[in-house]
């Protein structure tokens, strides 16, 4: 019988997930990829919330929070994608390195 999964394991997992998300966000040039990185960060947080609510006496609010954040993330991505598309219409690219007309 495998050893029980503890809170710490979840925290480590979420930490790793979060780091990957940040890394992706900082390095990927494709806008979509960056948005995916964001998703990873949010989900890492969600894992925390759920894990805390499961392993401590913090009640279910954590899980509620997670649900909310999932919904919000969906909305956010919807808007983001809309913008990406409209940009693509104008510039035929979604490479973030091309998005530097305003600087200085």
């Amino acid at each position: 019988m495998a050893p029980a999964v503890t809170l710490t394991d979840y925290l480590i997992l979420s930490g790793i997930l979060f780091s990957i998300g940040v890394f992706g966000v900082l390095t990927r040039k494709n806008a979509i990829a960056v948005l995916m990185g964001v998703e990873l960060m949010l989900n890492a947080a969600n894992i925390n919330l759920v894990a805390f609510s499961k392993f401590t006496d913090a009640g279910v609010v954590g899980q509620v929070f997670a649900l909310f954040s999932i919904v919000i993330a969906a909305a956010e991505v919807a808007v983001a994608l809309a913008i990406v598309i409209s940009i693509y219409k104008v510039t035929r690219t979604i490479d973030l390195d091309k998005e530097d007309t305003m600087k200085g």
Binding site: V22, V25, L26, V34, L96, E99, D100, T101, K103, G104
Partner: protein, 668 residues
């Protein structure tokens, strides 16, 4: 006798002032007769008042021959007040007489001399203004008020030297006079500040009134008094053209001749002598200062005389002779014989004024020519001028019987016996006397005798001057002739009226040892000898062997050139002092524009940089001055701009790094 005068002394200076005001403000609209009537009238009235004051003083018992007329409080702070108050005692009354008397005469003379000048009224305005300032100077009851007159006469001298300012040299001469005088004034200011403070600190009474200082002077330490004495004397060297500040006086001859006569011979230049005499109670306690004065006076007397030997401009000769004579006066006051100094001041006022007026009349006749080499043989054409001029010359040479004889002899005698003088001073004086006799004789001969050397066009115009000019000559001639008798030394079996009259003023002054009668006779003989030897030598050179001077000039070329060029002192000053100052101010000018403006003013650098963004002030970009702030800010801005490169992920990286730094900030 006339007690009322005790309350209207202030009229003496005020009258010329009003005259000046009228002439300067509306004079240009007045007809000329009115103009000069006002001018002469006011100064003459002052003279009359001075006479009355004199008579009043005389009528008082010798002990109390002094009164003070305070008009109002000029500066009055708690614990320090300077009144606009006048001090009348034998000394000041004598000075007032000389100033207003000679002044009126010269005013009168000017009517003839300045006729047809386009700034006639302004001339008389300035002349009156001068009279006011000079009278203020001699009558004032406090050093500060005296300083007002002191500066006032300087101003008038500036204005009158540069009276014909269209000629830039005249303007420059005026400026030179003022600035050199200011250098002296610097000493004067320091002097009276030091005195003021010393007395104040010692006694707790803060005052600059002669009376107060006189009564408290004893409490001040001799060292300080010596310093004060010397600083005040620095002021005197400026005003009275002594070494090293005499250089302005010869240039001052650029002014109209009557001005040279009044200001630069008779009155203003003697202010220094008067000041020293007035402060006798101080110098009595500062023997070292006295010695300095005596030495400087003697040296000046000698050096100026040597320069006078070879000058060819008639007024220049007289100018250097003035410097030399002032040297005599300082010998007098320097050796503690204040009376003698003032005595010579008076006689000199007569004969030197006369000499200048005479030369003026000559120049007038020669239609502006001043070079004696182009003169000669004027005696026939202008008898009065010649006679009076000769009388004056005899006076200055110290020919027995004439005014100069008594005064100069008085000085030399005291110089010999006084502990502050001594043989050296006396010797210089005697030599100077020889030289004086020499150059005056030379001047007279070259100007009035021998063959005419002017072109005949000028020659035709030579004529005797009008009455308004000759009458003053005559008046002064009489004074130069007989003026000395009021100061005849006791050895002639008479009372030295002048000395006795002044005595109370100098009562607290220096006690001089009494020389024996025989000594006095001997010294007198020596000076007489000196005078005649000078005359004889000059006569031999310029009257008999007229070719000799040129030859000698060849022979002793170097010496001659040095003398002719006045020992190159002016050049020296020009090169080193003025040049140095000019260099310094240019340096500082640059320093201010570059360094200070650059360093302190970093934000202003920003201003320039900002301007550069608009290319508006490219000119303004100041060279490599330190400009930390401005540059720092701007370059920082540039750097941060580069960071802002439009790539959102860079922004994120910056944010992450920033957070990392913040994290470490607390963890460490």
């Amino acid at each position: 006798m006339y007690p009322c005068i005790e309350h209207c002394i202030w009229l003496i200076p005020l009258l010329p002032l009003t005259g000046a005001m009228v002439n300067l403000l509306i004079g240009s609209r007045l007809p000329r007769p009115v103009t000069h009537t006002i001018a002469i009238g006011t100064i003459a009235t002052s003279f009359v008042l001075s006479v009355i004051a004199y008579l009043h003083i005389v009528s008082l018992p010798p002990g109390q021959r002094q009164f003070i007329d305070t008009v109002y409080t000029w500066i009055g702070l708690q614990g320090f007040r300077v009144g606009l108050s006048f001090l009348v005692d034998p000394l000041s009354v004598v000075m007032a007489l000389i100033v207003s008397g000679v002044g009126s005469v010269i005013h009168l003379y000017s009517v003839g001399y300045m006729h047809g000048d386009k700034r006639y009224s302004r001339y008389f305005g300035f002349l009156n203004l001068f009279a006011f300032a000079m009278l203020l100077l001699v009558l004032s009851n406090s050093i500060l008020l005296m300083f007002v007159g002191w500066e006032g006469v300087g101003l008038c001298s500036y204005l009158l030297i540069g009276f014909w300012f269209e000629k830039i040299e005249n303007a420059k001469a005026g400026m030179k006079a003022f600035v050199v005088n200011r250098i002296g004034d610097f000493g004067f200011i320091v002097g009276f500040m030091l005195l003021f403070t010393a007395v104040g600190v010692r006694t707790g009474t803060w005052s600059l009134d002669f009376g107060v200082i006189k009564s408290n002077i004893g409490l001040v330490s001799p060292a300080i008094l010596t310093a004060v004495g010397i600083m005040l004397f620095v002021g005197a060297t400026g005003k009275s053209a002594q070494i090293p500040l005499y250089v302005w006086l010869p240039d001052a001859m650029a002014g109209p001749t009557p001005v040279s006569a009044l200001i630069h011979a008779a009155t203003m230049v003697t202010a220094g002598v008067y000041m020293v005499a007035r402060m006798n109670f101080l110098y009595a306690l500062a023997p070292d200062a006295l010695r300095v004065i005596a030495i400087v006076g003697a040296l000046t007397a000698f050096f100026a005389a040597t320069i006078g030997l070879v000058q060819n401009d008639i007024k220049k000769v007289l100018a250097y002779s003035t410097v030399s004579q002032l040297g005599y006066m300082f010998i007098g006051v320097g050796v503690g014989a204040f009376g003698a100094g003032i005595f010579h001041l008076m006689t000199h006022a007569f004969f030197k004024a006369l000499l200048f007026l005479g030369s003026g009349s000559v120049i007038h006749a020669m239609s502006g020519e001043q070079d004696i080499r182009k003169m000669g043989g004027l005696s026939s054409k202008m008898p009065i001028t010649t006679t009076t001029f000769v009388i004056a010359s005899l006076a200055i040479m110290g020919v027995p019987g004439f005014a100069g004889f008594f005064s100069k002899d008085d000085i030399l005698y005291h110089a010999y016996i006084s502990p502050y003088g001594g043989t050296f001073v006396w010797l210089l004086g005697v030599v100077a006397a020889v030289l004086t006799a020499f150059y005056m004789t030379r001047l007279v001969i070259l100007t009035f005798y021998g063959n005419p050397r002017m072109d005949h066009h000028t020659a035709e115009h030579v004529h005797e001057s009008p009455k308004t000019m000759t009458i003053p000559l005559i008046i002064l001639a009489i004074l130069s002739a007989i003026g000395g008798y009021i100061g005849m030394p006791a050895i002639f079996g008479v009372h030295n009226v002048f000395a006795q009259f002044l005595a109370p003023v100098f009562a607290s002054g220096v006690r001089l040892p009494e020389g024996s009668v025989s000594l006095e006779w001997t010294l007198m003989g020596v000076s007489v000898l000196a005078a005649f030897s000078g005359i004889g030598f000059a006569y031999y050179l310029y009257g008999v062997r007229t070719e000799l001077p040129a030859i000698m000039a060849e022979k002793y070329n170097t010496a001659y050139r040095w003398l002719l060029n006045k020992y190159y002192v002016d050049e020296f000053y020009q090169k080193y002092i003025v040049g140095g100052l000019m260099g310094l101010k240019d340096l500082l000018g640059v320093f201010d524009a570059r360094i200070i403006d650059g360093t302190v003013n970093g934000t202003a650098r920003l201003g320039r940089r900002l301007a550069d963004f608009e290319g508006a002030f490219d000119r303004v970009v100041v060279d490599g001055a330190v400009n930390a702030v401005g540059d720092g800010i701007v370059s920082a801005g540039a750097v941060l701009r580069k960071l802002q490169n439009g790539l959102v992920q860079n922004y994120l990286i910056v944010a992450v790094i920033g957070m990392a730094i913040l994290l470490s900030l607390v963890l460490l």
